[in-house]
């Protein structure tokens, strides 16, 4: 039972992180039909920028910096985490807008070409991040005042940052996005745009401004994800493609463009991952080492019956 609760919490926290990242991916797609294959790069870059701000402003380093996680023993205040978080996510939002305006605005509608362009950008970004931040995994320090873990009823221990911060951040972000989409003028335009883009522009709405807003929001979510993930797990080359893939799987399962679908997809991916890691044991047959294949079986299974995902609608 204790183990079951821990494993479930593991799955939920992973799902929370996947949701934050994938929601940005799916929103951009829903409105603009752009598959941003550089979304994972924005995730990793967001984390690295936060780490850079944290180490530059809040610690002092020297020497070759031989270290396994790039973290020193320093004390970190809450601001030493929050300020990098806010700045990094804003910067990533702006980078997202620049990316959209420079590379994607003029070829709107050619979705395959846009996917290829963002793949090219992700290749370049990955290499440049490797050059600048190195190939060693690093993590962002959580505020020292926060506890390492909390104890739940039934003697279940769980990481504080993981269990409390990431989970509540995901819930807040989910609520916030829901309100933005359902209650604001921006959200109304977006919803209308998802249904019929031509009609929206025919109504005299500046579609470009809406697109800018959406790319800012989508990239920003990748940035927040990067900071949360960089604190909860770590930052390393390869995490960009890992989170791009996670986002892809989440939205393929949930249906491209659907926020609710992203939530369901993230939950499915996170929980299936976590349970398969532990419970894939049948008597003497221990298949836990093959758990990731179950994730893909889930994906292929969904696709075979609903090619557009659980909540997907034809374009």
């Amino acid at each position: 039972m204790q183990q079951f609760v821990t494993v479930t919490l593991n799955g939920l926290t992973l799902a929370a992180l996947y949701f934050v990242v994938a929601s940005g991916f799916t929103l951009i797609f829903g409105l603009m039909r752009v598959v941003n294959m550089a979304h994972g790069s924005l995730y990793l870059l967001g984390g690295y920028i936060a780490l850079e701000i944290q180490t530059r402003w809040f610690t002092s380093d020297s020497g070759l910096g031989l270290s396994l996680s790039g973290k020193s023993d320093a004390e970190y205040s809450v601001f030493a985490w929050l300020i990098p978080l806010v700045l990094a996510t804003l910067i990533i939002g702006v980078i997202g807008v620049v990316l959209q305006q420079v590379f994607l605005r003029w070829n709107q509608g050619q979705d395959l070409r846009q996917a290829l362009i963002t793949i090219a950008l992700s290749v370049i970004l990955a290499d440049q991040m490797l050059a600048y931040f190195g190939g060693i995994s690093k993590d962002i320090a959580a505020p020292s005042a926060w506890p390492t873990s909390i104890t739940l009823p039934g003697e279940v221990r769980f990481g504080f940052f993981r269990g409390v911060v990431v989970l509540s951040a995901a819930v807040l972000i989910g609520l916030g996005l829901y309100l933005i989409i359902k209650r604001t003028r921006f959200g109304k335009i977006v919803r209308a745009g998802v249904d019929d883009r031509e009609m929206v522009s025919a109504l005299g709405i500046n579609v470009n401004r809406v697109f800018i807003g959406m790319f800012f929001l989508g990239a920003l979510l990748a940035g927040i994800g990067g900071v949360l993930g960089g604190t909860m797990i770590s930052l390393a080359p390869g995490q960009d493609t890992a989170f791009l893939l996670n986002s892809l799987i989440v939205v393929i399962i949930g249906g491209m463009g659907s926020l609710g679908g992203a939530a369901i997809g993230a939950l499915a991916l996170g929980l299936v991952d976590a349970y398969a890691d532990v419970y894939l044991v049948f008597g003497d047959l221990d298949l836990t080492n093959y758990s990731i294949i179950v994730t893909f079986a889930l994906l292929v299974g969904v696709l075979a019956f609903r090619p557009l995902g659980l909540y997907g609608r034809p374009a």
């Binding site: 039909r33 598959v35 590379f103 070829n107 509608g109 050619q110 979705d111 395959l112 070409r113 996917a115 290829l116 362009i117 793949i119 090219a120 950008l121 290749v123 370049i124 990955a126 290499d127 440049q128 490797l130 050059a131 600048y132 493609t241 893939l245 892809l248 799987i249 393929i252 491209m256 080492n289 093959y290 758990s291 990731i292 294949i293 893909f296 994906l299 292929v300 696709l303 075979a304 090619p307 557009l308 374009a315």
Partner: protein, 346 residues
């Protein structure tokens, strides 16, 4: 989609000249160049050709080709005598046939699932296939595991490439030429024309009583067979295969090769592969060090920028650029020829 793709005939004189040059290349270049550049470009070109075949004639940009060539390579490496894997010690020629068969069958299965989606969905689903194959072989230690399979036994016709790379090069060359000719001929058969019909007018083809999904699935199977050939040749080339040889980076690399060469022309595959291999091996020597941004170690930045430029400026790839230039030379006074129509998928 560029409608002129299908009507081209094979330019025999040019092909013969290229093949003749390739055949005498061993006399002109070092063993290292023969292996690391030419042999690699030939098999990588076959992998890219399977992608281009699907994209140009079927309108399907598939990222599953590396997954499928991984299956063929892994199947071969497991069947023959090797260090790691199942090491079933089957005769290499038999293993080769079995590997191609397995890859084609798996490809048909993948194709059956993927053929029902189009455009960008197709791209993502096939990407998921490739990653699935990677994780499968990473996790199933009985067949590979992270360390992969080393010292794979090769068929006699390839000789022992570490001592003499020439037989392997010639084998790869012959196979590449056969693949090029085979796909070219296939595109002009009723099946190939049907593929192009399905690509351009799926609804109309359906109305004509065409089984569109079946047609796309079969096309995918054929491409899988070609990708499988590339997979087996890649094992000949490396004498080993690991999950790392078929990871996401390799998937993207094959896409890059195809796009750089030209996504709408089969011969673009080998041009792209040759360009890729040359940059890969020689960029260290001539790329200047510019801070952290550029330098001998920044191959991926270089290839990424080239890829980006091609996608932005010339969707027809290097072949497309060459064509535009030749058009300009021919008709200097007239307005420049229209770019290949940008591809849209609705």
């Amino acid at each position: 989609m560029n409608p002129t793709v299908s009507t081209r005939r094979i330019a025999w004189p040019a092909l013969i000249a290229v093949v003749a040059l390739a055949a005498i290349a061993p006399l002109l270049v070092s063993d290292f160049f023969l292996s690391a550049i030419l042999t690699k470009a030939l098999w990588l070109g076959i992998a890219a050709a399977s992608l281009i075949f699907l994209a140009a004639y079927g309108g399907m940009v598939s990222l599953a080709q590396v997954g499928i060539y991984g299956i063929a390579g892994m199947a071969y490496a497991n069947l023959v005598l090797a260090d790691g894997g199942a090491a079933a010690a089957v005769n290499p020629y038999l293993a080769l046939v079995a590997a191609l068969l397995i890859a084609t069958l798996v490809g048909l299965g993948f194709g059956w699932i993927a053929a029902r989606s189009e455009g960008i969905y197709f791209l993502m689903i096939t990407l998921a296939f490739s990653v699935l194959v990677y994780y499968f072989f990473s996790q199933v230690t009985g067949l590979s595991g992270f360390g992969g399979i080393n010292s794979v036994d090769l068929p006699g016709i390839v000789g022992s490439p570490e001592q003499d790379p020439l037989p392997r090069y010639l084998v790869t060359l012959v196979v590449a030429v056969l693949v090029f000719l085979g796909l070219g001929v296939l595109s002009r058969t009723a099946f190939g024309l049907g593929m192009q019909g399905v690509r351009d007018e799926p609804a109309r083809m359906r109305a004509l009583g065409f089984d569109v999904t079946l047609h796309r699935t079969l096309a995918f199977g054929i491409a899988a067979f070609v990708a499988g050939i590339a997979g087996v040749l890649s094992v000949f080339y490396n004498t080993r295969i690991t999950p790392g040889s078929i990871n996401l980076a390799q998937t993207i690399d094959v896409l890059i090769v195809a796009v750089i060469g030209g996504l709408y022309r089969l011969e673009g595959a080998w041009l792209g592969a040759l360009t890729y291999a040359l940059i890969d091996n020689y960029s260290r020597e001539w790329v200047p060090e510019v801070g952290n941004v550029l330098g001998p170690a920044r191959f991926n930045t270089l290839i990424g920028v080239l890829f980006l430029i091609i996608v932005l400026a010339s969707p027809g790839g290097l072949i497309g650029i060459a064509e535009q230039l030749s058009r300009k030379v021919k008709t200097p006074r007239r307005a420049p020829a229209p770019m290949p129509a940008p591809q849209t998928v609705d």
